[in-house]
């Protein structure tokens, strides 16, 4: 079991819902990014999705697009993020880290080299939104050939329907349930059939079910709380950080409050 699996299992044993945030790597700069990871860990975050900026983020809405663009313009690249992660791990950070990235970035870096580097620096999971199940073999073959390789997180959407069993079959870590159609960062109006969809997933999944897309406060998940093991906040968290000028106290308060309300 890796860090991420252990943490989610611990949540389950304590009867708690897990909370994951998404942040764009390299913002406000590499040093600030490292500090934000450490701040979140101290505030009790269960895992952090670290977005590797890409020039053409088709699964993302305006907030993450803008953040990615800004980060690229500041010179952020995969190599630099690996260095930062390596550093933060050396400084004792044990929070589960999940890379959220587009497939081209992995392909260009080299799949084999990418997986080895993830193991070396301590990346626990990978989410690749433009690599659907049918295209995953080229990547999972390499992941499966390495011990301690990061876990590939599977995504499900309200449109997945008959695809759910196939996608869940070998899924590990947790399953990422997208709350609505479309891209990240839309308002929290979940798909009209959200409960039926989550029920379907929950009944078939033997790993934690996390919901994401369009969530801002713990209240947003009230209507589906009984069907999920936790939730993920991305665009809203980035907005807050950008607006506060990456005020670490804002991040700390937000995470503490969210976790508390989520488990109230």
């Amino acid at each position: 079991m890796n860090r991420m699996e252990q943490r989610l299992q611990a949540c389950k044993q304590e009867g708690k819902k897990a909370f994951i945030t998404y942040m764009t790597a390299g913002l406000p700069d590499m040093e600030g990014c490292k500090k934000l990871i450490q701040t979140q860990e101290a505030a009790g975050i269960d895992a952090i999705e670290l977005g590797i900026p890409f020039s053409d983020p088709v699964a993302d809405g305006p907030v993450i697009q803008a953040a990615s663009y800004k980060s690229i313009c500041q010179g952020t690249n995969l190599k630099g993020v690996f260095e930062m992660v390596s550093q933060v791990r050396k400084e004792g950070c044990e929070v589960p880290l999940i890379f959220m990235m587009y497939f081209n970035t992995i392909l260009y870096y080299g799949i084999e080299k990418f997986v080895e580097k993830c193991i070396e620096v301590g990346v626990d999971g990978v989410i690749v939104p433009d690599l659907p199940f049918e295209e995953q073999k080229q990547f999972t073959d390499v992941l499966n050939a390495h011990e301690h390789a990061p876990i590939m997180i599977q995504l499900l959407t309200p449109m997945s329907k008959q695809r759910i069993p196939m996608i869940l079959e070998n899924a590990r870590g947790f399953v990422y349930c997208v709350s609505s159609m479309g891209v990240t960062g839309q308002a929290a109006d979940f798909h009209k059939d959200i409960r039926a969809y989550l029920k379907e997933v929950k009944s078939q999944s033997n790993i934690p079910v996390m919901i994401g897309f369009g969530i801002r406060t713990a209240k947003d998940v009230d209507g589906v709380r009984d069907l999920v093991d936790g939730c993920i906040v991305g665009s809203h968290f980035i907005n807050m950080m950008e607006e506060s000028g990456y005020d670490m106290n804002v991040a700390k308060t937000y995470i503490e409050t969210f976790k508390q309300e989520l488990n109230a």
């Binding site: 305006p62 663009y69 497939f103």
Partner: protein, 394 residues
């Protein structure tokens, strides 16, 4: 997996949200093209509305100059001024058959946007066209045309504010609205089944050209050429010749200011395999694997990737891909105006610009067929600015 690929190229690199949409599209498409009624309707509109078939014109003065028979496939004579409409008619008829009421499209120069807006008007569908703010600025005439045709032009301000970003935004919107919306992709790119579908609907170009050439010459041409951005007119021009091993196939990419300057759009000259817009293909990328901005005087060739079947045809050696610079293309454009009285689109002029090289060792007993994919009216301002030495508008 294999039937979505051309060798190692192609595939379906899209978000999970779109996988069932693509499956639904593929089923509907396969059923439609196997249905004689659907194909009949498609050909009816191509004939009565688009004005097909287009002539395979024997270019007498070009022939005289280059010492080999030169034929031009006149796609510029289609309604709306380019080959784009062939594909749009096919896709919109399919959208209608699938019960969709809205269409969306991406556009760079605006030609595909205009063709889609035209098709949407013809079949009474709601139409949104995504266009980068840069392109809206420099292609004002086409923005006006789309609006006159009843389409909404949605400005896209992200990344480089051009075609690549407009395509990203169209994909995002499609993911949100796929239930009632059909995405009309304009080139032989995107996730499967788009490259296959666009080829099918553009293959009418070579179906006609092959027959016309046989009628005129009693044999197949020696060389078939077309320009390549995403590659839709080119794959349409190649389609019926791919199995004719004696016919040499040449695709001409845009070398912009020169491949060596880095300011070009030749994905196959210097690109390496990558993933963009739902497909794996040759792609211009920087040293971090981000997509590089393409550069060409021709907005229609200004695309960092290329259709997956072209990547496959290149690797398998069946087709050859070359590139010509802005300057060579503009000289060829000027030459066609003066020798044949035809103002070609700057895109199409790229194919013409390779004539001096390809005809060098050819004789009067041989022939070249070139796809004249579009007319140059839309480029009047760019052409004027270029020849006045004002640099580019594009």
């Amino acid at each position: 997996m294999s039937n979505t690929y051309y060798g190692e190229f192609g595939g379906q690199y899209v978000a999970e949200t779109l996988m069932n949409t693509l499956a639904e599209l593929e089923r509907a498409y396969e059923e439609a093209i196997a249905d004689p009624k659907f194909m009949e309707e498609y050909h009816y509109y191509l004939k009565e509305y688009v004005g097909r078939e287009t002539p395979l014109y024997f270019a007498e003065r070009l022939t005289e100059k280059y010492g080999t028979k030169i034929y031009l496939k006149r796609e510029d004579l289609n309604h709306t001024g380019a080959h784009k409409i062939n594909n749009v008619i096919g896709q919109i008829l399919l959208a209608k058959r699938m019960g969709k009421t809205k269409v969306i499209a991406e556009t760079g120069a605006g030609q595909h946007g205009v063709a889609t807006a035209t098709g949407a008007a013809l079949f009474g569908m709601e139409c949104k066209v995504f266009m980068g703010t840069e392109d809206i600025e420099r292609q004002h005439l086409n923005v006006m045309r789309m609006e006159m045709l009843g389409a909404t032009v949605v400005p896209v301000q992200s990344g480089s504010n051009t075609l690549k970003d407009a395509t990203n935004e169209a994909i995002r919107t499609w993911a949100k609205e796929a239930e009632d919306t059909f995405y009309v992709i304009g080139s032989a790119v995107g996730p499967h089944p788009y490259p296959k579908m666009v080829k099918q609907f553009q293959s009418v170009i070579s179906e006609e050209a092959k027959r016309q050439h046989l009628e005129k010459e009693g044999k197949l041409p020696d060389v078939v050429m077309a320009c390549v951005g995403g590659g839709s007119n080119c794959i349409g021009m190649f389609a019926h010749f791919i199995d004719e091993q004696d016919v040499k196939l040449i695709g001409v990419e845009a070398a912009g200011l020169g491949i060596e300057t880095g300011k070009h759009a030749s994905a196959m000259a210097l690109g390496r395999p990558g993933v963009l817009h739902g497909m794996k293909s040759y792609l211009l990328q920087d040293e971090d694997g981000n997509v590089q901005i393409a550069h060409s005087i021709s907005a229609g060739l200004d695309y960092p990737g290329v259709g997956p079947e072209h990547a496959y045809l290149k690797d398998s050696g069946r087709a050859t891909y070359v590139s010509v610079t802005d300057e060579e293309a503009m000289n060829a454009l000027s030459e066609l105006c003066k020798l044949e009285g035809i103002i070609p689109a700057i895109e199409s002029a790229h194919a013409l610009a390779y004539l001096p090289k390809v005809t060098k060792d050819m004789t009067m007993e041989q022939s070249v067929v070139i796809c004249l994919s579009g007319r140059g009216d839309k480029d009047a301002h760019t052409i004027e600015a270029y020849f006045n030495g004002e640099g580019y508008l594009n």
